[in-house]
């Protein structure tokens, strides 16, 4: 130690000695990168042909004594050197440009590095790839941009934030979402408050070396977002204008649209019921029952016929020729869905000088959805300033504000939903009410015609007491068109996010940095139902209002040391960080409105439920450090450690995380100097990261819910059996090895292999429900995600004016439960947990392996559905004998039987007897990824991005519902595949007979609707033209760029309407607002 100090001191003296031979004058300046105007620390400034020189400091500054006429050579690894001849001036600022992409600065955890030097895996998503996409936030834009990053677009509602998954599914019951960090501050706000137009770069950190510095919250990857800054080299104004159209280009399910065809199926369902239940004359039964409340109420008979017999020809089972309509009903999707406009404008201004830089932006977005009265409107502003107040003190402030209004009409969770009606309402049920003479009924309140609310529209106590009552057998009382038009659901939100940083340069080598970050939001969500029609009518109007206030504060203090010793360079940091999240809410429900035009609580005079409110908070405290070492720009080593505590855990609040990573640039070695491989890096890392986001705020203490008062006004406390005082951090242990390379000038690529074992899993243990504790969250079990990620970019053509690149990325990810939780009864691992049906959890399965009954087709004799029943054929006679039934699922049986099992299967027509088992299929695809083709010719540019996925399965539940006669003969509309139904003995088909559900369970959970999730999607396309600068000379403009772009334009999947990208498992759910397709025309100006 002492020796080292002496050595350092000697080095220091050498510098001092040198400076003492001072020359005529002192020249100062700042070295920046031309790209972004940020200061470049560590650049060398040398007086040409001498050995005199120095390195720039943390702020890119230098100060050197020279003679007039001397030439300064300014250089930095990976950047083009620049020479400056010293003249009369005393200040020379220099901007360096990059040699190639390997030396681009990459923002990583608590610092920056270069792509070349980084030992971990960090994918930088370029601003231009985000800007070409038309989304309100960055999450959707990440689709396809990085290998192993899955973006799930859960809704087309404008302003939706997508679900992002990095490297598989990192937890079973805990959190799988990455941590977002904005300008160095962990982010708990809404991504919508960050205008994508303000984002300079987005970095996705994947392996332990990259994420361990975020210890507590890095387990599922980290997305670092850096907002734009000013520039010391130029002042600029940029204006982006976009206008476009949102529509639904990806088709919905192919449902029956003809009322005649549809009523034929209803009739056939009744016929089937008659047959299945042994009615003497099934045709007469169907004829008599067609126009009744149990099928189609008389009021909905839209044909000029008196009964089923006059309408349907029993031989063809379809509407007789010559039958005419009394009216033609409109279809819900025609009224509900219309292309809508999208408008966006962004103004950005930046500038500054060597000491101070600023960036100011204003953004406006009006994004309307294709569904009635859905949209998202947002105003954003941002100001980022950065100043070197003193030579030793730098201050920065980034402040963004967003105000947004989201309108989410017609999307009630339940039947009252435009998407449910669009797919599932039979075409003979009209949107608009018809009176007893089949005429439209004028609406005295809103104008136009009254909507059809089934029995709520007509009869006693309704708006039309004289019209005969009719209970529509599908979603009676509801009409989502009315909800979308006359009711209102929306959120107004103010959100501020800021970071304020200071940096004190204590010595040339040591700096103290601090950042205080805060994210504040205040949102008011209102759901208002009108007093005239629909669900609010009985309340005479109602309003539900939720006010939520959230504040996250994050305070970081960090000491950074940086030094070079010959070929060795070292950077080290130690830091402390505290983070607090608080949320407050008040919610109120009131009824009976005075003026329905005004959506304010005071317009409502009754309060049937008391107002609720509360506060919850979570704090995190962390201590961490990191050492980055490199030798000769060839060998890199990174070590980091972090200790985190969370308020969520009762006893074991703290956990320590660490990582080590190394990289070796083989191409720097002499033996590679003549190779066609210009760049080759090997890297490996190992580390641990944690997660606490996956559990509730107060996990460790038994608690009681405060209930509504008892009849005497007394207290009511019900116990919450959920506490686990020993619950602590979930930990991910990750190993990675990877290579990065460039072959000649034509191919860049990287391949990573990783194993990530999540241990101490947040596992929701299925407890015997008889104990009264159904589930308990524990830290047990091990889940492994391992996989291979690749990313290649081929520079196919690069000749003069023409440039063509093709990049392909993909990930092959496996997921396996390696250890289950321990059963407290046996002390051994639990065999099977099916609480997350259709998936079964057991050792060796993935978290998305189907454990369900197997579909065995349709019996040609009677059209009944069939399944497989497994049995233990102990007497080996090939027949299921009494006593050979399993009675439980196959996995359970094999685990508990004392027999030497001889498992065989047979066919059963009783669903309950069919056997649940692993069916050998999983929702996790073999490979998924994207490819991008980008071309440049003269002033034209083209970019297209496709995403793909191969090798997984999902339950297409919505298709299942459209193939179901579950809710009565007229209970829901059918998919066109119903045409293939069984009709008479001998029919070979996979679609059971229509029987008005007299033969049950045809669509119950089984492999019947298990569908391949393979897809290819055209995610984005952009064609742009930049006006040549020679035309701009006299305009005062620096840039004019025009473009057209399209998002989400095409999808090929197993079935129209089946979009496996809308949920994590690929399974389809009810009331999907299918993602928007957007066409945009854009103009970008810079002056």
């Amino acid at each position: 130690m002492k020796l080292k100090l002496t050595w350092l001191l000697t080095l220091f003296m050498a510098f001092v000695m040198q400076f003492s031979f001072a020359q005529e004058k002192t020249v100062t300046g700042t070295v920046t990168t031309a790209d972004d105007g940020l200061p470049l620390p560590g650049a060398s400034v040398i007086v040409k042909n001498t050995s005199r020189g120095q390195q720039t400091d943390f702020d890119g500054k230098y100060s050197i004594q020279v003679n007039q006429g001397d030439v300064l050579v300014i250089s930095y690894v990976g950047m083009q050197s620049t020479e400056v001849t010293v003249g009369a001036s005393n200040t020379y600022d220099v901007a360096l440009t990059f040699d190639n992409t390997l030396d681009e600065v990459v923002v990583v955890g608590y610092g920056t590095t270069t792509k070349k030097a980084f030992a971990g895996t960090a994918t930088v998503v370029k601003a231009e790839d985000i800007e070409t996409k038309n989304f309100s936030n960055v999450s959707q834009s990440l689709a396809g941009e990085a290998a192993g990053v899955t973006v799930i677009n859960t809704s087309g509602q404008p302003g939706t934030t997508s679900t992002v998954r990095i490297r598989g599914f990192g937890s079973i019951n805990g959190n799988r979402a990455p941590l977002y960090v904005i300008d160095g501050v962990p982010f708990s706000g809404s991504l919508n408050s960050i205008n994508p137009a303000d984002i300079k770069s987005t970095t996705i950190l994947k392996d332990a070396t990259a994420t361990a510095i975020y210890g507590s919250r890095g387990a599922n990857g980290v997305v670092l977002i850096t907002t734009k800054g000013g520039s010391s080299s130029e002042s600029y104004v940029e204006l982006d204008l976009r206008t476009g159209i949102n529509s639904q280009l990806i088709p919905r399910y192919d449902v029956i649209s003809s009322p005649e065809e549809s009523i034929g199926f209803v009739w056939e369902g009744l016929l089937g019921r008659g047959r299945a239940t042994g009615v003497a004359d099934p045709v007469a039964f169907a004829n008599a029952n067609l126009f009744t409340d149990s099928a189609v109420p008389v009021g909905y008979n839209m044909w000029n016929v008196a009964d089923g017999g006059e309408l349907i020809d029993p031989l063809t089972r379809s509407v007789r020729s010559g039958v005419t309509r009394r009216y033609t009903p409109q279809r819900y999707q025609d009224v509900a869905f219309n292309a809508a406009f999208r408008t966006e404008a962004n103004l950005r201004m930046g500038g500054g000088n060597a000491d101070s830089r600023y960036f100011v932006s204003f953004g406006f977005l009006d994004d309307k959805g294709y569904a009635l009265n859905t949209g998202y409107k947002r105003y954003t502003t941002r100001i980022n300033v950065n100043s070197n107040v003193k030579e030793w003190l730098t201050l920065g402030a980034n402040l963004g504000y967003a105000y947004s209004q989201s309108q989410n009409n017609g999307q009630t969770v339940g039947s009252e939903n435009v998407f449910e009606f669009a797919d599932k309402m039979q075409p003979f049920f009209p949107v608009y009410l018809r009176d007893d003479n089949y005429q439209l009924v004028a609406d005295p309140i809103f104008g136009g015609n009254q909507l059809d609310y089934g029995s709520a529209s007509v009869g006693a106590g309704s708006p039309n007491p004289t019209i005969t009552t009719r209970a529509r057998p599908n979603a009676n009382l509801l009409n989502p068109i009315g909800t979308a038009l006359f009711d209102d659901v929306g959120t107004d939100r103010h959100e501020l996010n800021g970071s304020f940083s200071g940096k004190v340069k204590i010595t040339d080598k040591l700096a103290f940095e601090t950042t205080f970050g805060a994210q504040y939001s205040n949102s008011i969500t209102k759901s208002v139902s009108n007093p005239f029609y629909g669900t609010g009518r009985n309340d005479e109007g109602n309003i539900n209002q939720n006010n939520t206030e959230r504040l996250t504060t994050n305070f970081l203090q960090l000491l950074r040391y940086r030094n070079d010793f010959g070929d060795h360079s070292l950077e080290a940091l130690v830091a402390h960080e505290g983070n607090k999240f608080e949320s407050n809410f008040v919610s109120t429900f009131k009824t009976k409105v005075v003026n329905p035009e005004i959506d304010e609580l005071n317009q409502y005079i009754l309060q049937p439920q008391p107002t609720g409110g509360g506060r919850s908070a979570r704090t995190l405290e962390s201590y961490f450090g990191q050492i980055n070492y490199d030798f000769n720009d060839t060998y890199y080593l990174t070590v980091s450690g972090r200790r985190d505590g969370s308020s969520k855990f009762a006893r074991d609040k703290y956990e320590t995380f660490y990582s080590i990573g190394a990289a070796w640039i083989i191409s720097n070695e002499n033996f590679m100097s003549d190779s066609f491989i210009n760049f080759l890096k090997l890297k490996a890392s190992y580390g641990t990261t944690g997660d606490e986001a996956g559990v509730a705020f107060y996990t460790g203490v038994d608690s009681f819910t405060i209930g509504a008062p008892d009849p005497d006004g007394g207290f009511v406390f019900t116990d919450n059996p959920a506490a686990n005082p020993i619950l602590t951090w979930e930990t991910a242990v990750q190993y990675q090895a990877g290579i990065e390379f460039s072959l000649g000038t034509w191919l860049d690529g990287s391949v990573d292999y990783f194993i990530k074992d999540t241990e101490n899993l947040f596992f929701t243990r299925q407890n015997p429900p008889s104990t009264g504790v159904a589930t308990l969250t524990i830290n047990e079990g091990v889940l492994r995600n391992n996989g291979l990620e690749f990313d290649f970019t081929g520079h196919i053509i690069n000749k003069g004016d023409f440039k063509l690149d093709l990049s392909v990325n993909g990930a092959l990810i496996d997921n396996e439960i390696q250890e289950m939780y321990i059963s407290p009864q046996t002390g051994e691992q639990t065999v099977l947990d099916t609480r997350n049906s259709p998936y079964g959890y057991s050792v060796g399965s993935s978290i998305f392996d189907f454990y369900i009954r197997e579909w065995a087709g349709v019996d040609p004799a009677d059209g009944a559905p069939m399944w497989y029943e497994y049995y233990d054929d102990q007497n080996a006679n090939g027949v299921l004998d009494t006593g050979e039934e399993l009675n439980v699922g196959l996995t359970d049986y094999l685990a508990t039987t004392t027999n030497d099992p001889n498992i065989q299967r047979t066919i059963t027509k009783t669903y309950a007897n069919a056997t649940e088992k692993y069916v050998g299929k999983s929702s996790i695809p073999d490979v998924s990824g994207a490819f991008r083709l980008s071309a440049k010719y003269k002033n034209w540019n083209l970019s297209t991005q496709f995403t793909y996925q191969i090798g997984g399965y999902a339950l297409d539940n919505q298709y299942g519902e459209l193939m179901s006669d579950r809710f009565g003969a007229a209970g829901n509309n059918y998919h066109s595949d119903i045409r293939a139904r069984w009709q008479q003995p001998g029919d070979i088909t996979n679609v059971p007979a229509l029987t008005d559900n007299a033969i049950v369970n045809g669509t119950s959970l089984s492999t019947r609707f298990l569908t391949k999730t393979d897809f290819l999607a055209l995610n984005n396309i952009l064609i742009g033209y930049t006006v040549p600068s020679k035309f701009l000379d006299k305009t005062g403009l620096d840039l004019i760029n025009l473009y057209v772009s399209g998002d989400n334009l095409m999808l090929t999947s197993a079935r129209e309407g089946f979009n496996p990208r809308t949920s994590e498992s690929g399974a389809t759910g009810r009331r999907l607002y299918a993602p928007l397709s957007t066409f945009t025309l854009g103009l970008k100006l810079k002056f």
Binding site: S294, V504, S647, V716, V773, G968
Partner: protein, 497 residues
């Protein structure tokens, strides 16, 4: 040097924020729930806090989601009364728009398939109450404690009665038949997260009876403040049902004695003819001995028993899921019976719906406003009269049996003299029929079918499925299954009952 001092001071200033206090990573709930420590602190200053815990046990009877699902058929104790009524076929699902109950319950699929969640709901609900009661019993010193304090005696008595009540419901819903030797249910006398194997019917009944007998003693001096609480008479009423369900004729005198005690001491009177068509919506009815007074603050809306059954509430009964009386049962009610008027007749959707038995007092179709304020009935004094009649008929005392039955029927029929012509089996048949009619939609008939080893009536034409079928009391499809989640997670239980 001076500059360095400034720099260090500046850094030091910022570093002072570093010293976070130990409090920083401790957070406690401040919203709608409280942890045990927080309760401990406030209980010292407010003794009323302690009464909140027994109220919490009762709350499970009316809160939604106690069956562990988010279903609109998961609304506490009355949810299972309705399940049972559908299974007896006396309540018919005659129009099904939204699908609740349709496949699982009214087609009796769940009772034959342990993967259906309705099985789980029943199991989860009653075992949840058992755990709540066990927690409270433990804090009062355990189930053999003998507290000095009157208030604690009352609370312990209520908790024991609630535990017994839940175990008894489980024996009925989960065991195909009454077989003392059969292993049927796991038994927990203390709250524990570790599952146990099945105990025999005899063991379960032993606990139920000892709990109730102990409760009756402990509740001797307990004056309840509202009808949601179990008092001595309610505990006796439960015990009467329990003993009756053993079918042991030698014990029928005990049933009679218990019924007599309730009738004599409850202060209740049989609902009059006018009352039985007055809506069944208020716990103040003199005929109710146990029920819950639902208020605005209770916050029940669509997801409630009224939200399923009553067309005059904001309900499925209004929206398209019609629950009506079985056509055959309706036809069996004499025309001059006051209870015939409980049901609407006419063509269309509302035919045979109980529009005049169960209704919100506003009588506005679809309900006047979202909140349910109509009350829940758990037990009526009429049950004691008819149960007493049944017990006496089984003892061969037909005369007193007829008298007991007439206590109720005299309020329903202008003339009950026809009863004098009934004896033996015919009398028992009549008592069962009167149980079905009197308590239609109140969840009582299921137990009568079981304890009297009967079958359901043949399903009337207004059912959507299984029309014409009868179901015997011990058929597999008449009784719920042990849910798959229990079988999977409890290694000591691998078989159905």
């Amino acid at each position: 040097m001076k500059k360095n001092v400034i720099k260090l001071m500046f850094s030091g200033l910022l570093l002072t924020f570093l010293g976070c206090s130990d409090e920083f990573i401790n957070e406690l709930p401040e919203s709608g729930f409280q942890n045990v420590d927080q309760f401990g602190e406030i209980a010292e200053s407010n003794p009323e806090i302690l009464t909140g815990f027994i109220s919490g046990v009762y709350a499970n009877m009316y809160l939604t989601g106690t069956g562990g699902t988010g279903g609109h058929d998961d609304f506490g104790h009355k949810a299972y009364d309705l399940f049972a009524d559908f299974i007896t076929s006396d309540v018919a699902l005659s129009v099904s728009t939204y699908g609740w109950y349709r496949a699982s319950i009214t087609e009796l699929q769940c009772t034959e398939d342990f993967t259906f969640t309705d099985n789980y709901q029943v199991w989860r609900h009653y075992y949840r109450i058992i755990r709540s009661a066990n927690l409270l019993i433990a804090t009062l010193g355990g189930d053999e404690a003998d507290p000095d304090n009157d208030s604690n005696r009352g609370t312990l008595g209520q908790a024991l009665a609630m535990r017994a009540h839940s175990y008894w419901y489980l024996t009925q819903y989960m065991a195909n038949d009454y077989d003392p030797a059969a292993e049927i249910l796991p038994l927990y006398r203390t709250a524990s997260p570790i599952g146990v194997g099945k105990s025999t019917t005899a063991e379960i009944f032993e606990l139920i009876e000892s709990d109730l007998n102990r409760a009756i003693v402990l509740l001797e001096d307990f004056n309840r403040s509202n009808k949601s609480q179990v008092n001595k008479e309610v505990a006796q009423g439960i015990l009467a049902y329990v003993i009756a369900s053993t079918r042991d004729v030698s014990r029928m005198p005990e049933v009679v004695a218990l019924c007599n005690s309730v009738i004599a001491n409850s202060g209740a009177s049989v609902m009059t003819a006018a009352e039985v068509t007055a809506g069944f919506n208020t716990v103040t009815s003199p005929g109710w001995i146990w029920g819950f007074d639902i208020q605005n603050e209770t916050g029940l809306r669509l997801i409630s028993w009224w939200g399923q059954m009553d067309a005059f509430s904001y309900s499925y009964a209004w929206a398209g899921d019609a629950k009506s009386i079985d056509q055959n049962l309706y036809d069996a009610i004499p025309a001059n019976d006051a209870r015939k008027a409980q049901f609407f007749t006419g063509t269309g959707y509302y035919n045979l719906m109980p529009l005049f038995k169960f209704y919100d007092s506003s009588r506005i179709i679809g309900g006047p406003s979202g909140n349910v304020v109509s009350d829940y009935v758990y037990m009526r004094i009429a049950e004691m009269h008819i149960l007493k009649a049944e017990a006496m008929a089984k003892m061969g005392q037909d005369g007193p049996a007829r008298t007991a039955l007439a206590q109720v029927l005299s309020q329903r029929l202008p003339d009950t003299s026809y009863l004098n012509g009934l004896s033996g089996t015919a009398l028992l048949d009549e008592i069962h029929l009167q149980t079905r009619i009197e308590f239609w939609g109140e969840g009582k008939t299921y137990f009568s079918i079981k304890r009297n080893q009967r079958s359901t009536g043949a399903r009337g034409s207004n059912h959507l499925s299984l029309v014409g079928q009868t179901i015997a009391h011990d058929e597999e499809r008449f009784t719920f299954e042990i849910p798959d989640l229990e079988i999977q997670s409890n290694v000591l239980i691998n078989t159905q009952n």
